[in-house]
């Protein structure tokens, strides 16, 4: 069948619309892109092909506005086993172990359907990690909303927290950290970034690379439905009044199915039964098949009529673009298909052959005997245009950075502390993380509520420290310094526990990159992240770009969330962030230079957001990190806590108040003689 149809050009099925430029534009492809497709194929694409291009050439899948900037990140180093380009990055740990980790956004779905949007965001990032052969051991999340005074924001916040919790809790993966921020800038466009960390034996690492002509592609897991069609395209446009109509495009998660898929996938991988595996995530079967083929330099032929579906009458267009959750595409040698099916059946999952690997490099789709798509596979991925938009800082941003609040402070130290502790972004997040299982897997050594989460690696004496951080106010005021500061804060949080920062995954949330002021923020923030990662020897191993975070009120503040993992060489050397014993001495480590620009103090007490954020001295930060590790290893520290948002004042208060479940709080007495009058609010330095 395949050889007979392969020679004739593909055609539309009865009832499918003829493809025109207008239809392409409805699919978010512009005229230049459409012309390029027609030239590549030397004919008008079929409707199915148009769907394929619209998904793979969406911003979400193609990184067409971000690729040249991302290429400047440091991505190599002695710990790097797998850098960007795979489902997740992988770093080497001692004793044959490795850590796979990645962060990803699910902003737009969560903006219209918070519960399922957040839940499937967690599901997707878990799959990215376990398809590398790693067992997820921690999840973190960075979530941002508009002010809690608005009912809509409270609805989104509560829905997201419940969605994250229900999915992660059911999967049995502990949540070890995260960020929760409330700010006007996220009012129409909340951010939901989920990070997953997994452990694997380096020997078990598997890559999503289709190889071996004649090998079989199998669809594993849930059946394919009509949910989530064009989700990748949805993620690549601005939110508007009409976005609520996209609600049916939000996928629905089934964590129970995912748990079965996790166990089956790890059995398939560690058993050496399969050649490759990839999650059917954004752009579903289309991207998983096309990307695996491209990495392996082979072609694939899929018969969409073989894909198990949830409802009758689904077209190849729908089957290819469905983003139904909890599905995997697996490549196996023909002789091992039965074995794959046996493993899957044990976990009550379907594993259905849906295609095979070919030697002609074509991405070919057959449906009920009709060839409906035939595209040169490598060009489908590589020929997507790359844009380098104009970048220019807005004049208002420059003015804002140079501004200072008018008038004198309106509150003294005591009142200021009360105001800051009462600010939702700075207050304890216990209400949130108490809804996430933080102790399952029995390895949690430092639970949420401190600087970084720490977990034990079973059967070894080392541990992992994990965190995710970003001060978006800093990035908005000075994208370059703000980018540096996000990495520095993450590394400082890791080092406060005594761990060595190892590597980064980043979730780059920005507005519309076609706006010069937004692309400037993106380019400069990435430059800052890259410089800091180079200075700390923490390469970027992957991540995600989320553009078009705009609501009718404008772009969000640039928010590059930095996820980081660190190695605690001896778990027993871990350092908590809260004061331990009365009469312990409190030290301020680092230089206090008098910066209040971008501070929470100015924002909350003066009602003023502006000024220049404190510049990050990368060399001094590196020395600080090394000091913290060395001091922890020699047992000098009873606790260590990073001074960040809210400065020294909040750091002291948090350390004294104790952990979320402390029986009693401690007091602290400090002598600030010699510091500037406002110095209690200064951000840099740690104690």
């Amino acid at each position: 069948m395949a050889t007979k149809t392969a020679t004739a050009p593909p055609k539309n099925l009865p009832g499918e619309p003829a493809v025109t430029l207008a239809l392409a534009e409805e699919h978010n492809l512009n005229q230049m892109e459409y012309d390029r497709i027609v030239a590549m194929l030397d004919r008008t694409p079929t409707f199915t092909e148009l769907g394929i291009f619209s998904a793979l050439w969406s911003e979400h899948c193609s990184y067409k506005h971000s690729r040249p900037v991302l290429k400047k990140f440091p991505t190599t180093g002695k710990h790097v086993v797998q850098g960007p380009g795979e489902n997740a990055g992988v770093l080497r740990l001692p004793d044959g172990w490795a850590v796979a980790f990645k962060i990803e956004s699910h902003n737009h779905p969560s903006a219209v359907e918070p519960y399922q949007g957040a839940a499937t965001g967690v599901g997707g990032i878990l799959r990215d990690v376990f398809t590398m052969g790693a067992r997820p051991v921690a999840v973190l999340n960075s979530i941002r909303f508009g002010p809690l005074s608005e009912p809509r924001n409270r609805y989104l916040f509560a829905g997201v927290v419940r969605g994250v919790g229900d999915y992660g809790n059911c999967m049995g993966v502990p949540t070890l950290g995260g960020e929760v921020v409330f700010d006007e800038t996220y009012a129409g466009n909340p951010l939901v970034n989920a990070m997953c960390v997994g452990l694997l034996r380096e020997d078990d690492l598997i890559r999503a690379k289709a190889e071996g002509v004649g090998n079989i592609l199998l669809a594993v897991g849930a059946r394919t439905g009509r949910d989530g069609i064009h989700g990748a395209s949805f993620a690549s446009e601005e939110l508007s009044e009409q976005s609520q109509a996209r609600r049916p495009q939000v996928q629905v998660g089934d964590p129970f199915m995912e748990k079965l898929l996790l166990e089956a996938s790890l059995d398939l991988i560690t058993g050496g039964i399969i050649v490759a595996i990839q999650d059917m995530g954004a752009a579903g079967l289309t991207s998983s098949a096309a990307e695996m083929a491209e990495r392996g330099g082979v072609g694939v032929e899929l018969d969409t009529s073989l894909v198990p579906i949830r409802e009758q009458g689904m077209s190849p267009y729908e089957i290819l673009l469905s983003e139904s959750q909890e599905r995997m595409l697996v490549v196996a040698e023909p002789g091992r298909v039965a074995e794959v099916q046996t493993v899957c059946q044990r976990w009550e999952l379907d594993a259905t052959p849906v295609g095979h690997v070919t030697d002609d490099g074509m991405f070919r789709i057959i449906h009920e005997g009709t060839l409906v798509a035939s595209i040169p596979g490598s060009r489908l991925i590589d020929d997507c245009p790359v844009y380098t938009p104009e970048a220019a800082e807005s004049a208002s941003a420059v003015v804002r950075r140079k501004a200072r609040p008018e008038g004198e402070p309106t509150a003294g130290l005591h009142r200021s502390l009360e105001v800051l502790l009462d600010t939702p972004t700075l207050a304890s997040k216990r209400w949130v993380f108490q809804q996430y299982d933080s102790t399952v897997q029995a390895g949690t050594a430092i639970a949420p509520g401190g600087d970084a989460g720490v977990l034990r690696v079973e059967t070894t004496d080392f541990g992992l420290a994990v965190t995710v951080d970003c001060n978006a106010r800093y990035v908005m005021l000075d994208p370059y310094e703000g980018g540096k500061a996000a990495v520095a804060e993450a590394a400082r949080n890791i080092a406060c526990t005594g761990a060595q920062p190892l590597g980064v995954t980043d979730c780059l949330n920005f507005g519309n990159p076609e706006k010069p002021e937004v692309f400037f923020q993106f380019r400069e923030a990435c430059r800052g992240i890259g410089d800091a990662c180079r200075a700390f020897d923490t390469p970027v191993t992957g991540g995600n770009v989320s553009f078009y975070n705009e609501s009718p009120t404008g772009a969000i503040a640039p928010t590059p969330a930095v996820g980081m993992v660190g190695l605690l060489h001896k778990l027993s050397h871990r350092v908590p962030s809260h004061f331990h014993s009365a009469r312990d001495a409190v030290f301020m480590v680092g230089t206090t230079t008098g910066h209040l620009g971008g501070s929470a103090y100015w924002a909350e007490i003066h009602g003023f957001v502006g000024g220049a954020p404190p510049p990050v001295d990368l060399e001094a930060e590196s020395r600080l990190q090394r000091f913290l590790q060395a001091a922890a290893a020699t047992g000098l520290l009873a606790s260590a806590h990073d001074c960040s948002d809210g400065g020294l004042l909040l750091a002291l208060a948090e350390a004294a108040i104790g952990g979320p479940y402390a029986d009693s709080t401690m007091g602290v007495s400090v002598d600030l003689t010699g510091y500037a009058p406002d110095s209690a609010f200064l951000p840099p330095g740690r104690c």
């Binding site: 049995g172 129970f256 199915m257 809804q435 102790t439 399952v440 029995a442 034990r456």
Partner: protein, 233 residues
């Protein structure tokens, strides 16, 4: 050596933690599958936490019908020790091996935190290594942990000393009746608890006070496994 069967339902997610906790305490622990009908000569059975079959109906309501539960019923009827933790406790209630039910938490949200619990019955095969009245801080992590039963059932549990664990010091995380965190059967061999002692069995993470739930088994056997374990208070 005690043989401890850890039952794996699809959706169990504390199965590995329970297995390792039992191993750490000197048991020969192994998994049995929900489709199995044989416990492979288990001395003790552990029903781990998780979301069996997704718990989309009612926590534990589907798991009770799985083939392995018939074997667990026989094991329990013969006086064999059974410990259900969290979802395992919910399954034991659904299966009628323990009285009462576990309803959604009073706060209507999932709760994950360490809670103070008092050990009130140290005669069961899983609590013999504790002192009566000892307070432990054990993590809970559940959405449906509010223990309820008819008033006369509660009276019966209280008067016959069948409350094994009780939340104390204002630590009741879910609104359980009388702060009940764990109970046992009238013979004492079947125990259900909401807190997760299997998560605190490793001194490397700073706390191993949960390990005696598992090391108790050896003590129970040494004491003669048919000793009635219910104590009056």
């Amino acid at each position: 050596m005690m043989r401890a069967a850890v039952v794996r339902f699809p959706g169990s997610n504390c199965d590995m933690d329970a297995l390792r906790a039992a191993e750490r305490s000197g048991c020969q622990a192994y998994f049995v599958w929900h489709r199995d009908d044989d416990l492979q000569q288990a001395d003790a059975v552990l029903l781990p936490g998780g979301f069996s079959y997704g718990d989309y109906l009612r926590s534990g309501a589907i798991a009770r019908f799985s083939p392995i539960m018939q074997a667990v019923q026989r094991h329990a009827a013969d006086g064999g020790p059974v410990l259900g933790i969290c979802n395992g406790f919910q399954i034991l209630c659904e299966a009628g091996l323990l009285p009462g039910a576990l309803l959604p938490n009073a706060g209507l949200t999932f709760v994950s935190r360490p809670v103070p619990v008092r050990v009130e019955n140290v005669a069961t095969p899983f609590t013999m290594a504790y002192h009566k009245g000892e307070t432990l801080h054990i993590p809970v992590a559940h959405g449906d942990g509010r223990f309820v039963a008819a008033p006369d059932t509660i009276d019966e549990l209280e008067s016959s000393g069948r409350v094994v664990l009780r939340y104390v010091d204002h630590g009741n995380p879910n609104g359980s009746t009388a702060g009940i965190a764990g109970i046992c059967s009238s013979e004492g061999n079947v125990v259900g608890i909401m807190p997760h002692p299997e998560r605190i069995v490793d001194p490397a993470i700073g706390d191993d006070s949960g390990s005696r739930f598992f090391s108790s088994l050896a003590q129970w056997r040494a004491a003669g496994s048919n000793t009635p374990v219910t104590t009056s208070v």
